[in-house]
């Protein structure tokens, strides 16, 4: 349905503080009907990628195919203007035109678009789109009188009213308050999955990405670092950057003493049996990734004796729905998320087990991973 081939893009150095290219060779394919998310910290190139698909920016090299048409081809020097690409888009600011009513906003693509519909059809189709987002009763309201959540729905109705072949979403949830964001997350996914519209979603929020997507492409500094299902990205990160960006993973300096299968990693607090990615060489500096929910405390009656360590509770933070515990293991601090009813106190000594199947060694260096979890924009 959508194919990007080796897109690169540099901006004028005055616009970008670093004179680095915004895109350094982005390629991926999206299948018909898929909910595909571009995830990454600000400045990773995800919005630029989306704008290239939309036709609002032209890449320097590469080509883009939507459906059967190559809409952009740098070598051939062709670029289909945004209005001819047959897309729908919800912008971060929603871009609801304040000088029009809700209905005028939604019917715009039907009245002024490239693929117009007969004038008798305009109102029914716009109302239908509005009813789809449950705003049919607000059709004649002036656009500035809408709340943030309503604006977002209108933007969605406007993006879908002309049945686009591809829906582009540019951080549409980031301007909503936390509670509304959660509702809209599920609603949005249900809506586009029911319509079967192929959707490209851009976000910096890993919770949104994981909860909504069929597939995620995690981007960093103009490149796709890992592409896969949410489960792949969370449970099998292929890079220390991915492990750091997704979730609250523990990252431990490590090196393999034995390669996969039955890999063993050496850490400051001892040897750990673990999974290891194929691209990590024995003896090379690498990172052991341990999910905070992976740690097992106390004697759980496990038969094996591997990956057991003594730990001291260094800090306890009660968060209501979970208990965050910092455990001192040798010189290393590991963070565990526990059930909030557990009764641990600072200074307690506990036995700790790291189940081997939940520990992964990935390539990379902790020193270079830091401060990538940039949530602000």
């Amino acid at each position: 349905m959508l194919e990007l081939e080796n897109l690169t893009k540099s901006f004028d150095s005055r616009h970008q503080q670093r004179n680095e290219p915004a895109l350094k060779g982005v390629s991926f394919r999206v299948c018909e009907g898929e909910f595909f998310t571009l995830l990454g910290p600000s400045g990773c190139g995800k919005t630029t990628t989306l704008q290239c698909i939309a036709g609002l920016e032209d890449p320097d090299t590469g080509r883009i195919r939507i459906g059967g048409d190559w809409v952009f081809d740098a070598q051939a020097g062709t670029s289909l203007p945004a209005n001819h690409r047959g897309l729908g888009m919800v912008f971060q600011s929603y871009a609801i035109w304040p000088h029009m009513t809700v209905l005028e906003n939604v019917s715009f693509p039907l009245v002024h678009g490239v693929r117009r519909c007969p004038s008798s059809q305009v109102r029914p189709r716009a109302i239908q789109a509005l009813e789809m987002v449950e705003l049919g009763h607000l059709a004649d309201r002036p656009a500035p009188l809408l709340s943030g959540g309503q604006q977002q729905r209108v933007a969605l109705a406007r993006a879908l009213v002309h049945e686009p072949r591809l829906l582009l979403l540019d951080e549409p949830l980031s301007n909503l308050d936390a509670r509304l964001r959660e509702t809209m997350r599920t609603e949005l996914r249900h809506l586009v999955k029911n319509l079967g519209t192929t959707t490209i979603f851009v976000t910096h929020d890993q919770v949104e990405a994981v909860g909504m997507s069929d597939k995620i492409a995690l981007m960093r500094e103009g490149l796709v670092v890992q592409e896969g299902t949410p489960r792949d990205i969370c449970m099998r990160p292929n890079d220390v950057f991915v492990a750091e960006f997704i979730g609250q993973n523990n990252l431990v300096d490590a090196s393999l003493t034995q390669g996969p299968p039955n890999a063993v990693a050496r850490t400051s607090f001892g040897e750990v049996h673990c999974n290891a990615n194929d691209d990590v060489a024995v003896g090379e500096r690498a990172v052991l990734v341990v999910h905070p929910r992976a740690l097992v405390l106390g004697d759980d009656g496990g038969a094996d004796h591997e990956n057991r360590f003594h730990a001291t509770v260094a800090d306890v933070i009660f968060l209501g729905d979970q208990l965050d515990v910092a455990l001192q293991v040798g010189e290393q601090v590991l963070h565990a998320s526990l059930d909030p009813f557990s009764d641990l106190r600072v200074g307690d000594t506990v036995e700790l087990r790291l189940p081997a199947e939940r520990c992964t060694v990935v390539r990379g260096d902790i020193a270079h991973a830091g401060s990538t979890r940039d949530m602000g924009r």
Partner: protein, 563 residues
């Protein structure tokens, strides 16, 4: 599939560059070329190159006097004008003086009053022979001769200073209003008294802003033409702008376009130099960042026992400002010259107005003026809206070129530009029509229009236009249906500004005057030279009244909104 090289955006950009290039660069190139042609030859007629004009200009002792005159004249008018403006702005924005709303409206509306008309008013008040104030003093104090004369260097300076005040006031009031009050409050909380705060915090913070206003006003006075021509010529105070005019349109003899162009080049160099200083200063000012663009409500200082003296001072200033207007009104209501006084009240009549509106020359002038101002304002705002979009949105290199080209006229004094237009088009059918005036005005006010539109468009979120494109609208349609409707108030405001400035301008129509393209400003000039004092006064009053009718509602609304 359409090629990347042929989309609407690109075509419009190329067209704009071509139009602006012809409007701006064409005249400047011809001006510079003409300054190197031998005297006594018409522009573009010869291929001979000579430095003769510049040699004449350099060896003449007059040149030094001209430049000195211009600089001293501009410096002193600017200094007096900016001081008055700062005082009034401080009173209306930062003290509890009553009536600040009225003063603000008055200042905004005053910008619509032609300097030419005010100049006529002052001459009627202060000329050494029959000047109304001189007559008054003679009767009251039994003095011989005259007390005041309008025809002196310092009177010219004072009158120009008064003309400078409203614009300077608007700029300075903006500075004062937008200053973050927390900066001052911090000083007060940390133990600084009101005086310490004023001198150690407020003044230093305002210095870059005031300096840029001062340089801007200095530039404006260097370029000014109407007051120096009606007062300065009789007072024998020649400045660069009037010299350019006299050389290209002498009272007798052939115009010396070569020498005139050479003087034009000198004035151009001076203005570009000032422009550079202005840009340099305003860039340094950016670092202070006191003007955040957010509307603040600074704490007002209680004037206490100073309230009455301050109010009196401001009232006196307004009285002086309105004297020439009252004088014109008086004269326009009589058939012949009548000295102001109770005796003249009996003879009040609208006969002069009736006579003037039936004068065929005046009728033609009015029609021409209407065509000229509407066409100029529309062209300026049309070009400026499109250029503004490219300067704000486009990251194409050509967009930057367009930005610079449209800003260039800011550094070209109108008198120089219009001389250049004259040189370029004198042999074309365009010369002698209203359209050459439209062309000149469009070029002159382009920089203003572009600034207005780019600051308006920068407030409009880029995604609003993008959303229209994604919804299937072409680029032009997205501008027409979404982007421009959203900046409609600013477009209208800019349109009115250009409208008023074209109508009041004398420089362009006088330099390009023929029998067929007379407009109200040149008709005024002719009536004055004839002389027909009541006729001049009546037409002045009509022009002023019309401009106020168009401009005042906007200004009152704007002032009310910003209150």
């Amino acid at each position: 599939m359409p090629s990347r090289r042929l989309n609407q955006e690109r075509v419009v950009l190329l067209l704009l560059c071509a139009v602006i290039g012809v409007l701006v660069l064409g005249p400047v190139i011809v001006l510079i070329r003409t300054s190197f042609t031998p005297p006594e030859s018409m522009p573009l007629e010869t291929i001979a190159l000579t430095l003769e004009n510049f040699v004449t200009l350099l060896v003449s002792s007059n040149t030094v006097r001209l430049v000195l005159n211009t600089v001293i004249y501009a410096l002193s008018s600017m200094a007096i004008g900016v001081s008055i403006a700062t005082f009034v702005a401080w009173c209306t924005e930062r003290t509890d003086m009553p009536g600040s709303f009225v003063i603000r409206v008055f200042m905004f509306c005053w910008m619509a009053v032609p300097a030419l008309v005010v100049g006529f008013g002052w001459i009627l008040l202060l000329n050494p022979g029959q000047g109304a104030l001189n007559v008054l003093f003679r009767e009251l104090f039994d003095v011989k001769g005259y007390v005041f004369t309008v025809y002196s260097f310092w009177t010219l300076v004072l009158i120009t200073a008064f003309a400078v005040v409203p614009t300077a006031y608007v700029m300075i009031a903006g500075l004062l209003r937008n200053m973050d009050p927390q900066l001052e409050q911090a000083s007060r909380v940390l133990g600084g008294g009101p005086v310490v705060t004023a001198f150690r915090i407020t003044m230093p913070l305002l210095t870059p802003g005031l300096l840029s206003v001062a340089i801007y006003m200095f530039m404006a006075v260097v370029q000014t033409f109407d007051l120096p021509v009606i007062i300065g010529l009789t007072a024998n105070v020649p400045v660069l702008s009037t010299r350019v005019y006299l050389l290209s349109a002498p009272v007798n003899g052939m115009p010396n376009y070569g020498l005139s162009a050479a003087f034009g080049v000198v004035l151009l160099v001076l203005a570009v130099g000032l422009m550079w200083v202005y840009l340099y200063v305003t860039r340094t000012g950016e670092r202070f960042r006191v003007v955040t663009g957010k509307a603040f409500r600074p704490r007002r200082i209680a004037l206490g026992r100073w309230k009455v003296p301050v109010m009196l001072a401001v009232a006196a200033y307004f009285l002086i400002m309105s004297l020439p207007i009252v004088m014109l009104l008086w004269i326009s209501l009589h058939t012949g010259y009548e000295k102001p006084g109770v005796a003249g009240l009996e003879n009040l009549t609208f006969a002069t107005f009736a006579r003037i509106v039936e004068n065929p020359v005046v009728i033609r002038a009015v029609i021409n003026t209407i065509v000229m101002v509407i066409a100029s304002a529309t062209f300026v705002m049309l070009l400026a809206s499109l250029i503004g979009w490219f300067t704000v949105r486009s990251n194409r290199k050509l967009g930057k070129v367009l930005d610079i080209l449209s800003f260039l006229p800011m550094a070209i004094p109108p008198i120089v530009l219009v001389l250049a237009v004259l040189l370029l088009y004198i042999r074309t059918p365009l010369y002698g029509t209203v359209w050459i005036l439209v062309l000149s005005h469009t070029t002159i006010y382009l920089a203003f229009g572009t600034r207005t539109m780019s600051s308006a468009l920068i407030q409009i979120h880029k995604e609003l236009g993008d959303a229209a494109m994604l919804s299937g609208a072409s680029w032009l349609k997205s501008l027409r249906l979404v982007t421009f409707p959203l900046v409609w108030p600013q477009i209208l405001n800019g349109w009115v500004w250009v409208f008023a400035h074209c109508a009041r301008d004398l420089t362009v129509p006088l330099m390009l005057m023929t029998t067929s393209n007379i407009v109200v400003a040149t008709a005024l000039w002719n009536l004055w030279e004839f002389p027909d004092l009541p006729g001049t006064a009546a037409l002045s009053v009509l022009l002023m009244g019309t401009l106020l009718l168009v401009a005042a509602p906007f200004q009152i609304y704007a002032a009310y909104k910003n209150r």
